[in-house]
């Protein structure tokens, strides 16, 4: 019994690593630019598709991965120029819907121009079993956990220790004042989006082989989960996001393993509702100063 619990715990940590990786880019964009980029997960799905196409064409994994990550960055750049800049002073609801539209567009690009079928993607080296003191896991999962922690650390450094990071945080507080202070908000915004896109690309190349298939529309539920994670972790709080991701991964895995698997998809939302009811700033967020 204990072994089962620990196994599920490990699965949950791996799941949390996946979610954290997917949510990391989103927390940058949402925390700094206050843009709810629903299309973020589509970036990682598209990166997964690039991986699929490259692997099918015989290109080695390392090159394919690089291309996929680059594509993520390019899409991020396009987002910043086409979707964010024109709507920079519009109300929040408008920009949310704009990105929602982008999500629709991206998720249907593959369906329309290629095929709605799920495609198998396999990177054999990731399936090598690795065992830690009797617990079985695969290399792929281990890599995901390690990479997400490393990227978290790097992102945190970027945001808290660099000049660009300080500019980002200034923008997060008030982009108009930041502009008046001489910060080029358009450039910062672009950098944020590109970074988020690169992170999404990395998420794509690591997560897609783990699941073994890539299909259009997979991104949608990942985005929902990512948003729940950000809600729990507190807006703009990078370490909080990863912590929340692991928490959610473990919760979902435990619930799925021991309670009732088909409903485990609802766990993120239910958790969010409960947490927000009790603590509106999320588990790790700073106190909200709004009047209600």
């Amino acid at each position: 019994m204990l072994e089962l619990i620990v196994q599920q715990l490990l699965n949950g940590i791996a799941l949390g690593g996946i979610y954290g990786l997917a949510a990391l880019g989103l927390t940058l964009v949402y925390g700094i630019l206050y843009q709810a980029n629903f299309a973020h997960a589509e970036q990682y799905v598209l990166a997964g598709y690039v991986l699929f196409f490259c692997l099918a064409a015989g290109i080695p994994f390392a090159v394919a991965a690089l291309l996929a990550v680059l594509l993520g960055g390019i899409i991020g750049f396009l987002f910043s120029q086409l979707l964010w800049r024109p709507a920079i002073d519009r109300p929040h609801a408008t920009s949310v819907l704009i990105f929602f539209g982008a999500c629709l567009v991206l998720s249907s690009l593959v369906t329309a121009f290629y095929s709605p079928q799920a495609q198998a993607v396999s990177v054999p080296v990731f399936s090598n079993p690795v065992s830690l003191g009797g617990i079985q896991t695969t290399l792929g999962r281990g890599v995901v956990i390690i990479v997400s922690l490393v990227l978290l650390f790097l992102t945190h450094l970027l945001v808290t220790r660099t000049r660009i990071g300080t500019a980002m945080r200034a923008m997060a507080q008030d982009h108009r004042s930041a502009n008046l202070m001489g910060i080029n908000i358009y450039n910062i915004g672009m950098i944020t989006f590109v970074s988020a896109g690169l992170l999404a690309g990395v998420a794509g190349i690591l997560i897609v082989p783990l699941y073994g298939v890539v299909a259009p529309g997979v991104g949608f539920w990942m985005v929902i989960r990512a948003f729940c994670i950000i809600l729990l972790g507190g807006r703009g709080n990078v370490p909080g996001t990863i912590a929340a991701a692991f928490l959610l991964g473990i919760l979902e895995s435990m619930f799925g393993g021991f309670v009732y698997a088909p409903l485990s998809n609802l766990i993120p939302w239910v958790t969010v509702i409960i947490v927000l009811w009790l603590r509106p700033q999320g588990v790790f967020g700073k106190a909200i100063r709004r009047v209600g």
Binding site: A36, R90, V96, L97, G101, L104, S108, F227, L266
Partner: protein, 321 residues
């Protein structure tokens, strides 16, 4: 006489709506027109919560779906006629809306969007998996249409009469929605949308009012769901699919959020577009997305907003010489 003048546009629209099926005859056109009417009702209720209320509610599928399933279940198990199922569907829709919006009251913006999508997902899961009640993927069939059996009086609303019946119901609903919008409640919704903190300061009970806004919207979505189910004589989870929900949001935005005529214009455009695009079905989400983005960036007021701006510009020129 300006009191009567404002009725010219709505009345002429209704007259057109009455005459239309006599010009476009045939079962197929009636089918499309009835679909158009339900989209108008859905659009108007979404406009109420999203346009006037400022919420980001994409839960129409959930609320309309529960309304539709309620109507189906009542018709199948209780033999209830449409004039009972439809209000019941509205009430169930409103209840579901209330249940969804209460925990979401602390969420704004993108989070509300996520919450309503999750609600939709949860309900779809229930329709698919609670087979004994909801019939799973195949749904429930054999639902009675619009018919009246009262004692010796039997009447089936089929074909043309079905269209007029649905038209009458939708018009009544739209009138009610209009009355809500121009009432003090309606103005409260808009106040909350514009500035929630200020609204609280002037004494609007924001949480209660937002809940009411949601609930009323969900009520009419439930009715729309019931209309759809009685028309198709069947209901299945795919009837209230997520894509349909997005389509309604897109049509409201294109038509013009926050305006009364917006959803009507949007629905007409959408149905027309759908008919034109029928051969290219896979491209529809792509096109919705692109239209959504283009309109939000360049024409945020929608087509009706564009018309209003142009109209006021012309009027200014005319009156100022």
């Amino acid at each position: 006489m300006s009191g009567l003048k404002k009725f010219i546009l709505p009345v002429s629209v209704i007259v057109v709506a009455v005459i239309l099926p006599l010009i476009l005859t045939g079962g197929y056109y009636q089918h499309v027109l009835i679909g158009l009417l339900t989209y108008i009702l859905l659009g108007a209720s979404v406009n109420l919560t999203n346009g006037y209320g400022g919420h980001l509610n994409v839960g129409q599928g959930a609320f309309a779906g529960m309304g539709g399933y309620t109507a189906a279940l009542m018709a199948l198990h209780l033999g209830a006629p449409f004039w009972l199922t439809i209000p019941a569907a509205g009430i169930v829709g409103a209840l579901v809306g209330l249940i969804v919006c209460v925990p979401s009251m602390k969420l704004w913006g993108a989070y509300l969007l996520v919450a309503t999508i999750c609600a939709h997902y949860a309900l779809t899961w229930m329709w698919l998996n609670w087979r004994s009640v909801f019939g799973g993927e195949g749904g429930l069939g054999g639902v009675s249409g619009f018919s009246i059996h009262l004692g010796n009086f039997d009447f089936e609303f089929v074909g043309l009469s079905e269209y007029y019946l649905v038209l009458a119901i939708v018009v009544i609903c739209l009138v009610i929605i209009y009355r809500v919008i121009v009432s003090s409640f309606g103005r409260d919704f808009v106040a909350i949308r514009e500035d929630e903190i200020l609204s609280k300061m002037i004494g609007i009970a924001t949480v209660k009012t937002r809940a009411v806004c949601f609930t009323i919207g969900a009520f009419f979505m439930g009715i729309a769901g019931a209309l759809i189910v009685h028309h198709f004589h069947a209901v299945a989870p795919v009837t209230f699919h997520v894509m349909e929900t997005f389509a309604v949001v897109v049509m409201v935005i294109i038509g013009g959020q926050g305006t009364f005529a917006g959803p009507i214009v949007g629905a007409i455009l959408y149905v027309g577009l759908m008919e034109v695009l029928r051969p290219a079905k896979e491209f529809t989400p792509l096109i919705y997305g692109i239209l959504l983005i283009l309109f939000l960036i360049f024409v945020p007021g929608g087509l009706v907003g564009l018309w209003n701006t142009a109209y006021s510009k012309v009027r200014r020129k005319v009156t100022l010489g």
